[in-house]
């Protein structure tokens, strides 16, 4: 079963559409789905006011699929808490995509806004474009970060990727801004591009791998060794990498791998390696 959802007009205010999730759609008839409630700004309205929904039987697809087409960049909380099925977004999507999701799959053929996969507990999110800030991070103030699952971003990501992360894997093929892996407890963050700085601040444990340029390492990290390569989820990433341990300010045991070849200015650390 595939549900095709298109916006009826250009949204001017944020739309909170928690109900666009395979778990909610499952077992409902189309007319029931059209009656689901969404918030457009401060107005509580039925789904059918904002979106046109078409239903299509598809024998090949076993699970339930929701396909979103158009500009969803103002539509927040798509796929919140989902545990099964698939969501495909052809276009941009708004904040809190797949927050607290437990299973299933979300593919975005476009960009995603901040908090994609916030606090997720399982499943997989793949973003073909770029992502905003706080990927995999919990809502403000909370320390219950991403616990499990995989987030893959093909483009760039913003600040605080994997904040308070407790498990799982985040892969960013582009660059990231400041504070990647802040307050991280467990899990792995892999960045193929550059990092704007402050990587691993306050981290307690877990691994951050940065293959690109890093302007500097926080003073609360100590250099540990040089590693020829790093293993990320079975994939061997060729190095060599400087391995740093920290964040010492929090008695952390996190591991920060920084590419040696892209960061010649970090060679000053080599004198501490004996």
């Amino acid at each position: 079963m595939i549900f095709h959802i298109l916006p009826k007009y250009q949204f001017r205010v944020p739309v909170y559409a928690d109900c666009i999730s395979p778990d909610v759609f499952d077992g409902k008839r189309l007319d029931e789905i059209l009656k689901l409630r969404v918030w457009e700004g401060n107005k509580n309205r039925p789904l059918s006011d904002l979106f046109s929904v078409k239903c299509e039987e598809n024998a090949e697809n076993e699970g339930l699929t929701i396909s979103l087409r158009g500009d969803f960049s103002k539509v927040r909380r798509v796929g919140v808490g989902m545990s099964k099925g698939k969501i495909i977004v052809n276009g941009d999507v708004g904040m809190h995509l797949g927050e607290k999701m437990k299973g299933g799959e979300i593919t975005v053929n476009g960009n995603a806004d901040s908090w994609a996969g916030g606090g997720m507990e399982g499943g997989r999110i793949e973003i073909k474009g770029s992502a905003g800030d706080f990927i995999g991070a919990p809502s403000r103030g909370s320390i219950e970060g991403m616990k499990n699952g995989i987030i893959i971003v093909h483009g760039d990501a913003g600040r605080e990727v994997g904040c308070s992360m407790r498990g799982g894997l985040i892969k960013i093929y582009g660059s990231v801004k400041h504070f990647v892996g802040i307050s991280m407890r467990e899990g792995t963050i892999f960045v193929r591009g550059d990092c704007a700085g402050k990587a691993g601040a306050e981290m307690f444990n877990g691994r951050i791998i940065i293959c690109g340029y890093v302007p500097s390492i926080l003073p609360t990290f100590t250099v540990d060794s040089i590693r020829p390569n790093v293993d990320v989820n079975g994939e061997k990433i060729p190095g060599p990498f400087y391995r740093f341990l920290g964040d010492m300010a929090d008695n952390g045991e996190g591991k920060l791998f920084i590419s040696k070849s892209k960061n010649p200015h970090l060679s000053v650390y080599e004198k501490y390696l004996l």
Binding site: N42, N44, P138, S139, G141, S142, E144
Partner: protein
Amino acid sequence: MNLIIKNGFVYDPLNGIDGEIMDICVRNGRIVEGFDEHDARVIDASGMTVMPGGVDIHTHIAGSEVNLGRLLRPEDHAYDVEPRKTITRSGVGRSVPSTFVTGYRYARMGYTMICNPSMPPLEARHTHEELEDTPIVDKATFPLLGDWWFVLEHLKNGLIKECAEHVAWMINATKGYAIKIVNPGGLETWGFGRNVKDLDDPVPNFGITPREIIRGLCLVNQIINLPHSIHVHTNRLGQPGNYITTIETMDCVKDFAKTERPVIHITHCQFSAFKGDSWQNMKSGAEEIAKYVNHNKHVTLDMGQVVFTDTTTMTADGPWQYTLYELSGNKWVNHDVEVETSSGIVPFRYRRKSYVHATMWSIGLELALLVDDPWKIYLTTDHPNGAPFTTYPKIISWLMSKKAREKTLKKINSKARAKSLLPSIDREYTFYEIATVTRAGQAKALGLKNKGHLGAGADADIAIYGINPREIDPSRDYKAVRRAFSKAAYTIKGGEIVAKDDEIVKVPDGKIYWVNPELPLLKNDPFSSHSNIPSDLRRKFREYWTVEFDNYFIPERYLKISAPIRIEVRW
């Protein structure tokens, strides 16, 4: 508007009515004996339970520390949002709900009177502004006076009369209702990075002991003749082995009890009933405390029950909050309120599988079940320290049903379960006893003559719950009890229906109850002229406070709906 509530099963413990089918008549916001029915609105309460409106003796709902808690916990609000409706305002909830939501939620549960138990006097203005924005329910607030320098100095010098004058002035100045004492002496000691070890550990620079503070203020309370007894958060709260301190605290004022009236209220007693000498062997001291309370008349308790949930702890007990921060490693706030008190906030999650948390859960219920007289123990969670107040229906179901307790017992830490006394306790509360611990007893302890009962002359604060006590066996069908108490079928406040079936239908403002002691000191209008205030108070304000003396006093006109209680001082 005149109202008649017909054919409900009425539970009114203060008038000894236990589930009789009765009609309750309301005229002009008061309960009356009976009147001409034809112009009255009739509420058919047949098959329903009618109780006086709920009274909460201890709930942190307003003031600077609650507000700081709101600021500290955006994640607490994120998933509990109440949208605006025609007559209600939007807000957020859970453990530190916004002011409006606090009022709505209490009203929906059938509560109509709540007491904010810890107000640093310096923050009184802020507290009253928040209380004003907490709609529907009536409110009272207790200033923290146990570590105020004036109290310490005067008690040290044995000047009880001067101390009483100052306390009376302060209660009037802050529009407070009772004397709240938190970790007496400990908060001042915390200013020097220490805590007091027991009742006889002197406070640095003052050389006065917690025992002297409690006794002194208890005497002051009797002199001023306040309607409520002293409201004490004991020393060594939250430390294993503190049940001895709690019993000593209760015992140290026993000789002041000349009449039937209790002289001390030990609040959130669960946190003060730990046995053992470390967290590993910490166990319940509920049995010893219950035994003491059962044999003595001068003391009342409230539970401070823990529920397994994520919540925010906040208290004026700065050193205890620091300990909690060290235990949890969570974000925290600690604050020193000049000259007066301190405070702290730490978000906390009580977990079923934690030995200590599960034991704490057990202690709260053991206390409530082992104290024989329900007039001596009241249902609270020390909102939000043990759990948010919205968990009261859950606690009611635990008290009313052994089966409900056993169901939770099965899920808790096995070591805690093995040591818990709960499996050996068969007692189950009746509806009459629940009405006592949730309203009548609390109103009596607070000395509120018009609250907590349904006799003629009482305020028409009534809660009607959609549960039939003759048909439902609360012991077996505890889920129905929980449902009924979480959504009052009708809440009537001051003769008006404010909530109906979980929906707010009217939003009147609640009154602020405060005590106006008639002291020679206060004979002249206390706001316009302070001519009788000793000049040293004015001088010390200049020396110690950041607030000027003239800006400190809260005039009565500052309260939206003021309900002063004039009392005669036994001079």
